[in-house]
Symmetry: D4
Subunit: 212 residues, 8 copies
């Protein structure tokens, strides 16, 4: 076949291999999802699915659900298990990445609350929700442009902070590279960072925390 | 004064502000450490201290200890609190960064075991210690050159993995940038990454996990 | 004419000049292929041909074959001559590059076996096929993202390893530059590397090995 | 001579040409300063002077003063003219750059107050001095690492903000490039940015504001 | 809702939060503009609006005006308050960025004169209008390619100069990065720089000057 | 008007300002060309014109000619004046850039011979035409990928060599940046280099030689 | 211990793990070499050894030899086994890297001939030795600056070509990155590339060829 | 021998191969110079020689002369042949590069006038000497920081302009890369560019012009 699924991943890591749909034809995704549904017992996910692919794959595997903002296809979502995750975004434009983080995290069993549009240009928005944020077990910060929200949150809370740079912005933002480098260079100690626009990566990192 | 210490940090985050010694004169470090010892009740740390600075600062504050490989000065280390951290290095040359991670982590109360020189060029070395590694709560992977160890570890364990790229290597290694980018682009889902050569950052990220 | 073919290349290097089709109109490709078929006696290849170009060129030179996944047009493929090449891919998305490597290698007379989707996130997949891989004369490793597969394979086998970074991935993957730099910085000694997405380059490097 | 001084600059812009001392021998600086003192009537400055150069130049032109932290030599400082400038630093290590900004600004007639070590990792430090800062005409923000202080200040005040990235930090900080890109990409509208480590540039930009 | 508007920004900084339209659907822009018109009393702006978005938003909020070259939607423009801004462009292709700078500046109450196409390749064009330019309070210089106009203007006038690099050019121009770096490295002291193509940023920086 | 033509350029430099058509509407090009035809007496050129723009502009100014490969519109080409220029290309794909160089050079009065497809992978092609090349006054070398042709030509001839890197290639070619850096780093002494894909720049540099 | 040697490497790959001496103290190298001499039966190598380290290590293990130009320490060199390797350098300054390639290759049993200073700026030097070069089994090309020698050699011979970029040069040479990118983008098909300045990597790649 | 001199270069290109001294021991330079003096009849040059090397080499070949600012050793300088070259520098700090350009140009027989410190921050300095500059056959412009002088000169004169970026500056100047990119992107048509800090390259390019 065109794919060799890592059939032991659910046993090893608690979640089966997830399908990255870009570059795969719908029928390939259908086949891989079939194999995953057969080999695993828990959630099966396909990320970055555009609406057409989603529709075609759901036709073959109708028990799943599609979240168009998160671009996520999910089957057999895990039941919530008491790990609460706060997902913050700096601006409205960061929403698609945060939506992916939230949707994947929920599908693998985390409880997620979202705090949108709390960027540092209007700091009171963040200060107003710090108490609510600290009632969670971990925090995901999604920010583009210069990514300063991650540093400010990292300085305010004692929690694990997973920073997700986004490609929001233009020019010197270098398609997310600036936010990435800034988050890695943060003056707030102990932040961790995942790839640009990788809501998926942040959710899976949070899943590792919940498993720890 | 030349410094405005964040005197509320211990209350907010569990560890007082740490001193970054490069660019500060010994008498400045002495003064800041004095203020930190007075305002905080737990561990006080000064990182990246060269031996001369260390000797001068310890002369003024003799209750501390200096770890020359980790380049760390520490006063009032926290008692262990049952969070076990595994620190892995790919090669011998990555040791100074791992030493900093281990020393800082121990100073803030984590229990650390180190697995040195388990790089993927001789894979059996890693496979031989996977079971021991999985007996911890989280894993720090320290690797330079191409940083592949982070991906392999990330694929083998379900734990939180904090990857630390190092500047070990030459040419296309770009002083750690290649390992950094590689770890961020890892095919293993849910890895998190800190700054190049930042053993300190990895330890503080682990401290956040232990606090969660 | 618009092209000056290197008519002595087959004599010098065993394979005639290959046509890089992007940027050439179909009628230009037709004319160059005609000249190559006339001047050379062995295989004639046109790479990166999209389906429309392929159809137009085959209409003029119907003795050739088009492989749509490899995007390769080939006339007069060389007979196999006993050099066995293993082509490995890290993920499903690396297939088009591997397909080009395999198709070009076969067209110039190598015997190729392909091992797909053996990336290090699920290491057992690779370990399961190491013995089969070592039964070949050389290995091509095709991987995007962080390209760690090249290091792991390089550490396991004694064979010549030709690493092909691919542009698979996003963000910090920098369109293949990260995999490229990582492969060049590998901790496994003696890997060699070709250009990003250059299945063609890997196949021609293997052809040089077979000629040696 | 080895230099062609822009003798009309004081008339055109209010401050004579300033000497950039790196790469010039002390006797060259002595000669240029002599010419500037003769052609201009107001302040004469030589930047980035190390202590040895400073001593040698002051021996020849003893009416000047040397500020070793700012590395500035200044003759005939301008009298204060009622423009108040706030200079903020994120961390202790940013001080030399801020010192240059403050010293140059004072030498050209601005009134300067400095707020050191108010980085966002301990946000209350900044919030405690916002009112004092807003009592000025303009703000210079000096920050390295990820430079987030500029965004937060830019969101809190309505004043002209001149952001100065510094080379403080390591690894992903890229010797100040990350802070530079971050400040340029700030979500706070209307920030302006000068070159990395250019306290001089920030002071001269403030001088232009005071002249406007 | 999908956005959390910074409703205190007008009070803090004199202009309400501006909407960055790319990535938002027309109905989202409509809703945000409604909220801004309700919470603020002065100008409400939406930048980078393409004609279709503009038409849809104006249908809901017909009191606004759309400037297609500036891609700006503006409601309740501020009355002029006596601050005169000169906007210069190096070449014809820099016009869209300058148009945004001019339109935003006018909408927030500045008086703007534009001097187009005065690039240094034909220096007399600039020299012919220097006197007119100096009759303003501040200068915005919009230039792509190598951005030399900013240095030349910076050397001729004593005013605050806000340099805007544009992505005009090709090859070594690196989509505006070269102009950006050049402006930051200018030999003319005291220039300030905003993000590539950010006419908006330049206008808001000028607004801060006018407020000072 | 939307453009301020440098009407003195023909007097200063022998050729009137040339129109860069991208980003200009056809009616703008028509108006600028009208002004140039009126103010200058010699050649008037518009570069990078796509066929639709060309047709629209020629409708208004029918005395001109359009070269679709060079994408050049030219009116009143200068008569030849005895300066012979050799234009070499490494590969077939470099032709559009070389075509622009040749067409602009001819339009400003140089005599041009083109030697196509003489790249170093088949060195004899170049060696076969070295004698013909040396019969010219200057040489333009157009090459993409690694740009090695410039070095080899630079080592063989004593003439002025103007190297033009092209964006031909992929991956590590970095859209022409690699060829650009390589040509600038050439081991052949005294090569000069112009911008990526700038056939226009090479022709104008040759025109300066012819004028010297 | 401070190192975990890959004791199975000789069995797997024919050569024991090699010691990279930078960053290791002499006594650490002494200990690792002792372990390698005990566990392996064939050659033991320590690369990049400066003279002081070399002297200290040889004092403990006097049966070895030190090559100061190659900076290589070698014990128990392998007997020649009939694989002939040609090592070419573009310029005199590339010699140290070529010396490392030659010395490591000889130590692992290859027969090496060196052709120095055959750069393309004086092409006849290369053409004069092509026949001698083709009498070998494989070719290593060591070149800095623009690295054009690799392309020219790659076009002349049918052999495996291992290109080694060096950091020779300045400015646009970017410490070897330009040569690296150029070699990867070569118009000669089937070149392979190793890391900048990695004579060691080229020799080990040649060793893999000899093993194939 | 350790070097293979290109003994035919003087015949081919009018000047013998020049010795690049960095990385060569004095005795190596002595030997190469001996060979060059024997094989060539005209000038023999060794560039970038530090004073110690210069003294040692002159001891062996006392007929030469050393220019310490240009770091040039020259024997048998060519007689002037009527080609006049103007060398301009933007700032005092650019002098060493300009000195190399001037000294090499004179040694190969050009007549050189130098115009120092005519940077665009004080434009009148350049305008005052434009007439003198235009009395030459070609112009070399040496500038660091943003390199704007090249564009302004290129717009004022019709001559061949060879732009030399220098590493003068800091931060965003990127050690000369910014000036390099800016000169390549110049809005003045027909500039040519050589490597960063390559006074040698500019002089040799001028020599090619003089030969044409
Ligand atoms: N053209 C523009 N360039 C840069 N920033 C802008 C622009 N237009 C609006 N903004 C900023 O973008 C922010 C809104 O981001 P968002 O929450 O994604 O809508 C506001 O704080 C504005 O200051
Ligand atoms: N000159 C060299 N360049 C690159 N890698 C080397 C070099 N010398 C030894 N090595 C590799 O470095 C690894 C040892 O790294 P370490 O554990 O840090 O001593 C071994 O696997 C060798 O293959
Ligand atoms: N200052 C310089 N900058 C660049 N190339 C130079 C310089 N001086 C000499 N060269 C070139 O360096 C080559 C010699 O390199 P090598 O064989 O390493 O001595 C000659 O071909 C010269 O053309
Ligand atoms: N610290 C500084 N940073 C940047 N530019 C400076 C500095 N000090 C002086 N300058 C500028 O450097 C120019 C002098 O350069 P030079 O001719 O090389 O002495 C003057 O025009 C100053 O405006
Ligand atoms: Mg918002
Ligand atoms: Mg090791
Ligand atoms: Mg897969
Ligand atoms: Mg501090
Ligand atoms: Mg114009
Ligand atoms: Mg060709
Ligand atoms: Mg040489
Ligand atoms: Mg000067």
């Amino acid at each position: 076949g065109f794919a060799r699924i890592d059939t032991r991943r659910e046993a090893r890591q608690g979640v089966a291999e997830c399908v990255y749909t870009p570059g795969k034809r719908p029928e390939e995704v259908v086949a891989i999802v079939a194999e995953l549904l057969a080999h695993a017992t828990g959630p099966v996910l396909a990320t970055r699915a555009d609406p057409d692919t989603a529709q075609a794959v759901l036709a073959a595997h109708p028990a799943g659900r599609y979240d168009p903002q998160a671009r996520l296809l999910a089957w057999r979502p895990a039941p919530p298990r008491g790990f609460r995750l706060a997902v913050l975004t700096a601006g409205t434009a960061d929403w698609p990445v945060a939506a992916e983080a939230a949707a994947v995290a929920r599908a693998v069993g985390l409880e997620v609350d979202v705090y949108r549009d709390v960027g540092v240009a209007g700091l009171h928005r963040l200060l107003d929700c710090v108490d609510a944020v600290t009632a969670h077990h971990a925090v995901v910060v999604v920010a583009g442009m210069e990514g300063a929200l991650a540093s400010v949150v990292g300085g305010l809370v004692a929690h694990p902070v997973i920073a997700v740079p986004t490609s929001t912005g233009y020019g010197a933002g270098l398609e997310g590279v600036t936010a990435l480098l800034a988050m890695l260079s943060s003056c707030a100690a102990g932040l961790t960072v995942v790839n640009i626009d990788s809501g998926f990566g942040a959710a899976m990192a949070a899943h590792r925390l919940a498993t720890a």
